[in-house]
């Protein structure tokens, strides 16, 4: 689609340069550290799984034990490899020994630990590559998906009930199914285990729940003639572990945004930006499309005023994602349709923002989020707002369209709410199919002027963030009017300074061979 807004290529380039400066600063500050969740993810990738008799995950037990014995700074892999080289039969036995501090203390670095780990590393890399290939095979077996992809959420709390709702949504036309997590999960510093049937406002992300939903969606693929993308939430305190689980169970998309956790869950900025990097590396290798969470800035602060902050954050998120090895087709940058419907010309401002994002991030699958802030309980008005949202999405070529529910803010979606949303989006997508090709904007009109203003605002904000550094900028409340000091927030205690001889065999493998193979 040719650009319509006449945005300055130099200005866009400058924004990217500034975002690069921001990302360099983050890397410089975070590089000397690892985190408990990063090390637990390494263990999971090496085949450590399961829970103890108190339901504490074994990866947590091992990392706590290594930490207590002063061994964690070298990286968990070093010790798992040493235990294997010393004769343990496999990761389960090695993890059992390492999870007991009195035994972990006695395990010394084995000169052949790398060799002992090599088959496990190779097997996991192969499994992840295989899953990415399987996804490509399935998608290629059907006609290309119509865009925007219709993205429906299920949130019953019970994975088996979720499956019923997900199958219904997929049959009705949903192309992506996201299982909303139990709301408390982002703050848990461990990943629950097994199939779960009770959650609050959503269903726990566990590897078994991933597997069950994946199998259900695969099962109906022949019937509906499409491969349905499975989405979960790689955010909160366990970002890298959930990425590992998703890579194993062939998820297709992951919400994956540290800034979201910092601002909306008060997770420590330092911790989560370290976690984010490794989680994005895993997602890169697994061929997963990430979704970023800029939409959330608009639910808290004013959508008209925050538009430049959304765009600035998209530039930063793009750079951080590229630095972690994700390719542009994997970077689903988020934004939202959250302007007050009573505002005169509010729809024009929405179109300006959505079109600008499309023209700036030409190769990225933009993730467009529905109205939530101005949903009032008047379900009929809400349905009308959602119609304007779909029309804007279609007219500006958005890629991933999260379906708005007419009962937003009232209750988790009913089966019929979801059907109505899918029906609405399908109808408008067909009815306005080639609208975007017919649109040219008045060259000095409101939409063009607004898009230019937002880009200029984003550039100014990026100048400020690049000058301050991201951590100081977050502390000064740059996003969503929320201040997040570097040392505050949840999970800070999980940051560990690396030993000079720290090792993470997966990072090292992906450094040697960038994950581009996944595309």
């Amino acid at each position: 689609m040719p650009p319509k807004l006449g945005l300055s290529a130099e200005r866009i380039e400058n924004c990217r340069r500034l975002a690069g400066k921001v990302a360099d600063g983050v890397r410089r500050e975070t590089e000397p550290f690892t985190t408990v969740s990063t090390e637990r993810a390494v263990l999971r990738l090496l085949g450590v799984d399961g829970v103890d008799e108190q339901d504490v995950p074994i990866p947590n037990r091992v990392v706590e034990s290594l930490r207590a014995t002063g061994k964690l700074a070298r990286g968990a892999a070093v010790w798992l490899g040493s235990a294997l080289a010393a004769g343990d039969s496999g990761p389960t036995e090695a993890a059992r020994r390492l999870s007991d501090p009195s035994q972990a203390k006695g395990i010394s670095e084995h000169p052949r630990w790398r060799e002992a780990l090599a088959p496990l590393v190779a097997s996991t890399l192969g499994r992840i590559r295989g899953n990415a290939a399987e996804r490509r095979r399935r998608l290629a077996a059907h006609p290309p998906d119509e865009e925007p992809l219709l993205y429906a959420i299920v949130a019953t709390g019970n994975i088996y009930e979720d499956i019923i709702q997900a199958e219904a949504a997929a049959r009705a036309g949903a192309q992506c199914i996201a299982v909303i997590r139990s709301t408390a999960q982002s703050l848990l510093d461990h990943v629950p285990h097994g199939a779960t049937t009770s959650g609050f406002g959503g269903t726990f992300a566990t590897q078994e729940n991933f597997r069950l939903m994946r199998a259900a969606l695969d099962r109906i693929e022949p019937e509906i003639g499409r491969s349905v993308r499975l989405v979960n939430y790689c955010s909160g305190l366990c970002m890298p572990e959930i990425a590992a689980m998703g890579a194993f169970e062939r998820l297709d998309m992951m919400l994956n945004d540290a800034l979201y956790g910092i601002i909306f869950r008060d997770i420590n900025p330092f911790r989560t930006l370290i976690d984010q990097n490794f989680s994005r590396r895993i997602n890169a290798a697994a061929g997963i499309v990430i979704n970023t969470g800029e939409d959330n800035y608009l639910t808290t602060a004013d959508a008209v005023e925050q538009a430049p902050a959304v765009l600035a954050s998209q530039f930063i998120n793009e750079r951080l994602a590229l630095d972690a090895g994700l390719e542009r087709w994997q970077i689903g940058l988020g934004h939202a349709f959250e302007i007050d419907p009573e505002l005169e010309d509010g729809l024009l401002l929405e179109i300006a923002q959505a079109e600008a994002a499309r023209e700036i991030f030409t190769e990225s699958p933009l993730k467009y989020m529905p109205p939530t802030k101005h949903m009032t309980g008047n379900v009929l008005r809400g349905y009308q707002q959602n119609a304007l949202f779909v029309l804007t999405s279609v007219a500006t070529g958005q890629s991933i369209h999260l379906l708005g529910m007419l009962t937003e803010a009232l209750h988790t979606p009913l089966l019929s709410d979801r059907w109505l949303a899918i029906d609405q989006a399908k109808t408008i997508r067909t009815n306005a199919r080639h609208l975007s090709e017919e649109i040219a904007f008045a060259p000095h009109g409101r939409i063009v002027r607004r898009a230019h203003e937002v880009l200029e605002g984003a550039e100014a904000l990026l100048e400020r963030i690049a000058g301050q550094g991201l951590f100081d900028a977050l502390a000064s409340g740059v996003f969503a009017d929320t201040r997040r000091p570097r040392e505050s927030g949840r999970g800070r205690e999980g940051v560990v300074e690396r030993h000079p001889e720290y090792s993470n065999p997966f990072r090292e493998a992906w450094d040697r061979e960038p994950a581009g193979a996944a595309s």
Partner: protein, 255 residues
Amino acid sequence: MSAPRRDPSRLRPYGDKWNDGVVQVSFTLPLPHSGLAIEAAKRYAGKMGIRDPYVTLAQPVAPEFTFFIVYGKAVHEVDATAISAEEAAAPDLGREEIDAEIAKRFGRRLVVLGCALESDAHTVGIDAIFNPKGFAGDYGLERYAGFDARNLGAQVPVERLVRLARDAKADAILVSATVTQNEIHVRHLTDLVDMLEAERLRDDLILVAGGARLDHALAKELGYDAGFGPGTTPGRVAAFLLEEMTRRRAGPGPS
């Protein structure tokens, strides 16, 4: 023809004439779309007291589920003269007047904490009441000179809230409850009351709950001083806080 007799003691819905009882309901039955399903929907509407049910939509939404929209005439009546619906008392005052009254009556700012509790991650409600920009054109509590308003955000543990309330010598706590799955919001709301009582703080605080599924009666039942439903403006909450603080300072009396 005489004018219709309007008898509020025998109230029914109004479609296009007095007491015609016209209602629209929508629901999903776990049945595949069929003549039998439509008949089941009519029977179900009949049991809801809807005469002459007219199924305007019978839409299969999944292989085993059909969504219905039904119009009809409800036979039930209520006696509107025999009902009282309590609302939190709030004088009709503007922001400047409330600020002036707080300064005059108390000579200090009132400390108000707000949050959503425990697993509730929604900030929309509490933000609408606290953020300076407010809601529906009505400024939020942070804009008032009379309040030291502190929005603690979402997912605040009950225990932490109680500690912060004690440390800040809070005059009021506002809790927003949005998540409604499995009635979890009710449990957290009562947990807060229990802990405040256990810590002997309950009587020193005005406790207010708000949210999509809340009203004044439910909030009172849960042990709160007031409850506010959807669409509540910050100004109304501010006016209630002024009124309730004043009432408390006057001491117990005829209420």
